[in-house]
């Protein structure tokens, strides 16, 4: 009986903290709850929160920013791979480079956002520096303009995430059989071909994992937006995560916030499902290889 008793707390956490809580939020998204939960659902009008949500310009902006942020910060994976490949080959200074590339991981997204907020500050950061050098038309005040603010957030996200993807890629590269490297050298395969035709295809699972983790991280993007722009200028840098929190804390609208959160959950599931399938497939492959 002891194992069952020991599992009770975890079971309670899963049932109450996750299952019940998710169910509650989904239920609330169908009600007209505002500041306080209201448990009546109008059967003729259960979708009204979703109707309002998708009629809201800020929500449309949030969804668009989600895609922009995902595509932009995908560069972190690209750079992560290039850096991993280079650090792996060039043994010179490997430890130093690794330490430098990985330290942003230890820095919170709030601090990351603030640091980059200052880097983009026209009187304080890069722009002031370039103008001081004599390039008087330099424009780096990205966060102040609605159409460039997202790019500022993307740069900060890349800065923060690059090391993480490098670490994942290094683990992937290290797991590649060393014989492949020497066989490729003996065969005279060019490095370009070695990477594009052998190494990258072998690492497709690592790439997929990185892409999915990145997407899941982007859906959660909240801290960095608060720290860099606080959603502004206007609502131009809102993300779904920011929208949901804002609907709850600023507009005190539980039903509306719940509807936004449910859409976030659906997006997460859409990203997560392939991960679950790929993991299962990878496990089976590894088991087959083990036999």
């Amino acid at each position: 009986m002891a194992p069952q008793i020991a599992l009770t707390p975890a079971l309670v956490v899963t049932l109450v903290g996750f299952a019940w809580a998710i169910g509650w939020t989904i239920y609330m998204s169908f009600t007209r709850s505002r500041r306080f939960p209201d448990y009546t659902i109008d059967p003729a009008d259960w979708y009204s929160q979703y109707e309002r949500l998708f009629g809201n310009d800020a929500w449309t902006t949030s969804l668009r920013n989600l895609i922009v942020l995902a595509l932009g910060s995908a560069l972190a994976i690209v750079f992560g791979f290039i850096l991993a490949a280079m650090v792996e080959r060039e043994k010179f200074g490997e430890g130093v480079f690794r330490t430098i590339f990985l330290y942003p991981l230890a820095v919170s997204l709030i601090v990351t956002g603030l640091v980059w907020r200052w880097m983009f500050n026209p009187s304080l950061g890069i722009e002031a520096f370039l103008r001081g050098l004599g390039w008087t038309s330099a424009q780096f005040n990205w966060l102040a303009a609605p159409d460039t603010a997202m790019y500022g957030i993307i740069i900060a996200s890349i800065w923060h995430g690059m090391g993480f993807y490098m670490a994942l890629m290094l683990a992937g590269l290290k797991s590649i059989n060393t014989e492949i490297w020497s066989a490729a050298r003996l065969d005279g395969v060019s490095l370009w071909k070695l990477y594009t035709e052998i190494i990258i295809p072998m690492m497709k699972f690592t790439f997929l994992t990185c892409a999915i983790l990145l997407s899941l991280g982007v859906v959660k993007a909240y801290d960095i937006v608060v720290a860099m722009t606080n959603g502004g200028p206007g609502t131009s840098t809102w993300t779904p995560a920011y929208f949901a929190i804002n609907a709850y804390s600023t507009r005190s609208n539980i039903g509306f916030a719940s509807a936004a959160a449910v859409i976030m959950l659906l997006i997460t599931l859409a990203i997560f499902l392939p991960l679950a399938l790929v993991t299962a497939w990878h496990h089976r492959q590894r088991e087959a290889a083990g036999r």
Partner: protein
């Protein structure tokens, strides 16, 4: 060995590095230098923001306004650090970031104890004891580990408020423990499942109970994974903003929340060097952990990702 051509998987991955690497065939020295230069440029991109913030935090305010962000301070001063710690204003009060520091510490310890105790026991039970629905439970945990916080936030606020611990460090710690439980359990379970089953069977024959085996056999073998998980949790909890913001109220706000309030939302005069010193004070504890225990740190950060 798989030699199928790279179709869908990121054919652009090497576009930047291609020429650099191709040259390596002919002139090894030249390409090595090119790679080294590229690595140095990337290292500069990563290192410069920290450098700028550090030097600015030691400058008096007259030097900050000059805009020479890369210059070392002419007159080094600790005043910004002193002000950040003692008198930083957050809109409501001017008690400095120290309030947040002590709140963060008070949140950190119960979070660590709660989450690690819960996850290690659960992971041990799922890995080494025959629990019929273990597979299903692990799959559910796997899903829970990726659920966005917003979907459970409001009901958890209701729950924590009903327990009477909303706005206290205990409320925040409880939420951290709930949020961390799925991932940590998976990490512990993956570690414990490699313990040979014969060892456990022998211990059971030896009339060892569930808890006795955990205490006398499993825990002493867990030093490595404990350090990894400890570092993962220290970084997660210390760097958290959202849980602290939504569950901390005014009195239990952690350091990140106070910092963000001071810099982002407060309407007063903006004092950049003090704000930067406050940001550094917030960033220092996890950075110390990183530089002291780098190897474990990387293991911790990637453990959940790969093994999940």
């Amino acid at each position: 060995m798989s030699t199928e051509p790279a179709t869908a998987t990121m054919p652009v991955g090497l576009s930047g590095a291609g020429p650099v690497l191709r040259r390596r065939r002919g002139r090894i020295k030249g390409s090595s230098i090119a790679v080294f230069v590229f690595l140095c440029m990337c290292a500069a991109f990563v290192a410069i923001p920290l450098y700028v913030v550090i030097v600015t935090s030691f400058k008096p305010i007259e030097e900050v306004t000059l805009g020479r962000i890369f210059a070392l301070p002419v007159h080094w001063t600790l005043t910004p650090w002193y002000k950040a710690w003692n008198t930083l204003c957050t809109g409501l009060s001017c008690d400095g970031i120290k309030v947040g520091f002590f709140n963060s510490l008070a949140i950190l310890f119960p979070s660590l104890v709660l989450s690690i105790a819960l996850a290690s026991v659960t992971g041990y039970a799922l890995a080494l004891w025959n629990v019929r629905w273990a597979g299903t439970f692990l799959f559910v945990l796997f899903i829970c580990a990726f659920v966005p916080f917003q979907i459970i936030m409001i009901p958890l606020i209701v729950l924590v408020a009903n327990l009477g611990i909303y706005g206290t460090v205990w409320g925040i710690a409880l939420v951290h423990a709930i949020l961390a439980m799925p991932l940590l359990t998976l990490i512990f379970r993956n570690f414990y499942k490699d313990i040979p089953q014969e060892l456990i069977n022998a211990a059971i024959m030896d009339s060892g109970s569930f808890w006795q085996i955990f205490r006398e056999i499993v825990l002493p073998m867990s030093a490595n994974i404990m350090i990894v998980v400890l570092i993962l949790m220290i970084t997660t909890v210390w760097n958290d903003y959202l849980v602290g913001l939504t569950f901390g109220g005014i009195s239990a706000a952690p350091m990140t929340v106070i910092l963000a309030n001071a810099v982002v939302t407060s309407r007063g005069e903006v004092i950049h060097n003090v704000n930067m010193a406050a940001a550094l004070l917030t960033a220092i504890p996890p950075l110390v952990v990183y530089f002291a225990l780098g190897r474990f740190f990387v293991q911790g950060i990637t453990a959940g990702a790969i093994k999940g």
